[in-house]
């Protein structure tokens, strides 16, 4: 059991040990070991197509690991029965790459649906909650719009609002900044930071946008396509300056060899 409390004040929230991900016999990533502490903003990064989103899908139980374990607060998620999984999943909020709002429902209905299912709130209390969540992501007044009637960036923000509907302990965001202009991307970063600070949620983000990574993440994992395993884990700024893995340094320096080489591991 890897429960050595080296990060003293935090209780480990997510522990991944020996995880191997595969489609049939095609291994995507193997021997992944990392820990996400409470209130971390944890980034899963790596080159395109290396299996970042696949790792996220494993973490939220949409795909079964071919080997290894995923623990939430030291409780085994991978071995949980269908029924027990429900109680894990209720603690998650997930924003998908495209937003994945239910296209036949309005934004308000999208956010209200999980609340109707999992809470005993009265309809008008739900309505108030919905407009509060929408205002958090800057979409007040868009309650009655359908996902197809608003822009891609708004869809992503609405996706975050829906992910937060049940006040999750852990927020999973799949490429929140992709396809957004720099300002919207920046606003999204601020939103994530503020949500973490005020709600105390742990946040797991899949991204390869360096600006975002350095701005918000305090912990990360780098997935290396060549070796099919993790290249490094730790604080991204420290990894950039002191990682012993040249691939990681190069990635975090945007492929700039000179800078990566002048900053060897101290």
């Amino acid at each position: 059991m890897p429960d050595a409390p080296d990060k003293t004040q935090h209780k480990a929230k997510i522990t991944v040990s020996d995880l191997t991900m595969a489609f049939g016999s095609n291994v995507i990533m193997k021997d992944l070991n990392f820990e996400v502490a409470e209130k971390d903003i944890f980034v899963i990064m790596g080159p395109s197509g290396c299996g970042k989103s696949t790792l996220l899908r494993h973490l939220i139980g949409l795909q079964e690991p071919s080997k290894g374990k995923i623990l939430y607060d030291d409780e085994d998620f991978t071995a949980a029965s269908e029924k027990e999984r429900g109680s894990f999943i209720r603690r998650f909020g997930v924003m998908y790459q495209s937003g994945a709002l239910w296209s036949s429902l309005t934004l308000a209905e999208n956010i209200a649906l999980p609340l109707e299912e999992h809470s005993k709130l009265a309809p008008n209390a739900i309505r108030d909650l919905v407009s509060y969540k929408l205002s958090l992501v800057g979409l007040s007044g868009y309650e009655d719009y359908y996902p197809s009637e608003i822009s891609g960036g708004m869809n992503k923000r609405a996706g975050i609002a829906r992910a937060m509907a049940l006040d999750p302990d852990i927020l999973f965001l799949d490429e929140p900044g992709a396809g957004l202009d720099p300002l919207s991307s920046r606003r999204l970063d601020d939103l994530v930071l503020r949500l973490r600070d005020s709600l105390g949620s742990t946040v797991v983000i899949v991204t390869h946008e360096l600006a975002s990574i350095f701005a918000i993440a305090n912990n990360s994992i780098f997935l290396d396509t060549a070796t099919r395993t993790q290249g490094a884990t730790g604080n991204p700024t420290e990894l950039r300056d002191h990682s012993e893995n040249p691939v990681v340094r190069r990635f975090l320096h945007r492929g700039d060899d000179d800078q990566a080489d002048t900053n060897p591991s101290s």
Partner: protein
């Protein structure tokens, strides 16, 4: 002769033709490129036998303008020799001497990352027997998925009757409206015409026996036993089965089904179950409606050939028994379930692209019509054996 504005003299016609000549100089090969290489220009002329090694030098002093056709030509040649006998060895960088700077840049870019030999699909390497095996395995796995899906449907129905399955009542009523009331116009049109056709054909034959009145029996029994339910099923396959597959397929492509799952909804209960229930409930009603409309169509033709409507109606009621009508109704329940299950199955198993949604829709319609007709034949045999 008017003075030409352009300083450059126009190149002679043959110089503008794209041409690649292989010049062998001892053991070395030089590629001479000339003319204008344009994708909408004349086709490329290759002079000399293309060698099995890269040219050491390019001669480009007669080269005019070019677009992507020229780098594509050079790259294709370099790639064709890269696949040479030496496996796994790092291929030496081919010489690009003599290329103009802009072409040099493009070629360096194209050659920067070596061709990934694993990335090519291994489709061509499989022989006929291998393909046959693949098809067999596919058939096996799709039969398995049909069986699994049907089993899941039954389990979901069980959960529904125990009050444990959850879906939105509003979704259910929307689906009921889509596959019930909104299907009435097309069902009316088709059934009315089928009734008329049966009456025409029947009358042509029965008239010679002086038994025109029995057209009423023929239309009534044919509609009630077979045509009403089969035509309704085919209409609903094309209309509602396809709509189910397309809707669920695009929800899947858009990760909406994953989103349901991570909010603790069972996508099967939430999406598939209301569709199955709605269609199973609406199919008998549509079938009954189709029977009546078909009989009215027959009545119109009957009136045309001299059978008074009142008499026709009386004759119809005489010929129909509760058994005859209920046979059609019972079949419609099964057909409704088949159409809903195959539409939802294809939608839930669709791939994640817009083309995959189209394929899923096609498969749903083909599978459900086929299944309906096969099951109807089976019913015909069973009813004959039981003598109903």
């Amino acid at each position: 002769m008017p003075p030409t504005l352009s300083k450059r003299s126009l190149p002679p016609e043959e110089a503008s033709l794209p041409c690649a000549s292989w010049i062998t100089d001892g053991s070395q090969v030089v590629l001479e490129l000339s003319g204008n290489w344009k994708h909408d220009g004349p086709s490329i002329e290759v002079k000399g036998e293309p060698p099995d090694r890269a040219p050491v030098r390019y001669q480009t002093d007669k080269l005019g303008s070019f677009d992507s056709t020229l780098p594509a030509f050079i790259l294709a040649h370099l790639r064709s020799i890269d696949k040479g006998p030496v496996e796994n060895a790092e291929p030496a960088k081919p010489s690009l001497d003599g290329l103009p700077p802009n072409l040099l840049g493009l070629m360096e870019l194209a050659l920067a990352v070596p061709e990934e030999s694993d990335a090519h699909s291994d489709e061509d390497k499989i022989g006929t027997i291998g393909k046959l095996g693949k098809i067999t395995l596919n058939v096996g796995s799709s039969l398995q998925s049909v069986a699994e899906f049907s089993g899941q449907s039954v389990l979901a129905l069980g959960r529904f009757f125990r009050g444990k399955a959850r879906f939105r009542a509003r979704d259910f009523w929307m689906i009921v409206q889509e596959c019930g009331a909104e299907a009435l116009p097309i069902v009316s049109l088709i059934s009315f015409l089928i009734g008329m056709i049966l009456a025409f054909v029947g009358n042509a034959q029965l008239k010679s026996f002086g038994a025109s009145l029995f057209v009423a029996n023929l239309v009534a029994i044919a509609m009630a036993r077979e045509m009403g339910v089969v035509m309704t099923s085919i209409i609903m396959s094309g209309r509602t089965g396809a709509a189910f597959a397309a809707h669920l397929g695009s929800m899947k492509a858009n990760e909406e089904i994953d989103a349901l799952r991570t909010f603790g909804f069972d996508p099967f209960d939430f999406l598939v179950l209301p569709r199955i229930i709605a269609l199973v409930v609406m199919m008998p009603l549509l079938t009954l409606y189709s029977d009546i409309i078909g009989i009215l169509g027959g009545m119109l033709v009957g009136a045309g050939v001299g059978i008074p409507p009142a008499l026709y109606w009386h004759q119809t009621l005489d010929s129909l028994t509760l058994t005859t009508v209920s046979l059609g109704i019972i079949k419609s329940v099964f057909f409704g379930a088949i159409i809903a299950v195959s539409g939802c199955l294809q939608g839930m198993h669709a791939g994640k692209s817009s083309a995959a949604v189209g394929e899923a829709t096609t498969r749903a319609v083909v599978a459900s019509i086929t299944a309906v007709v096969i099951l109807d034949s089976a019913f015909a045999v069973i009813f004959t054996i039981l003598d109903i």
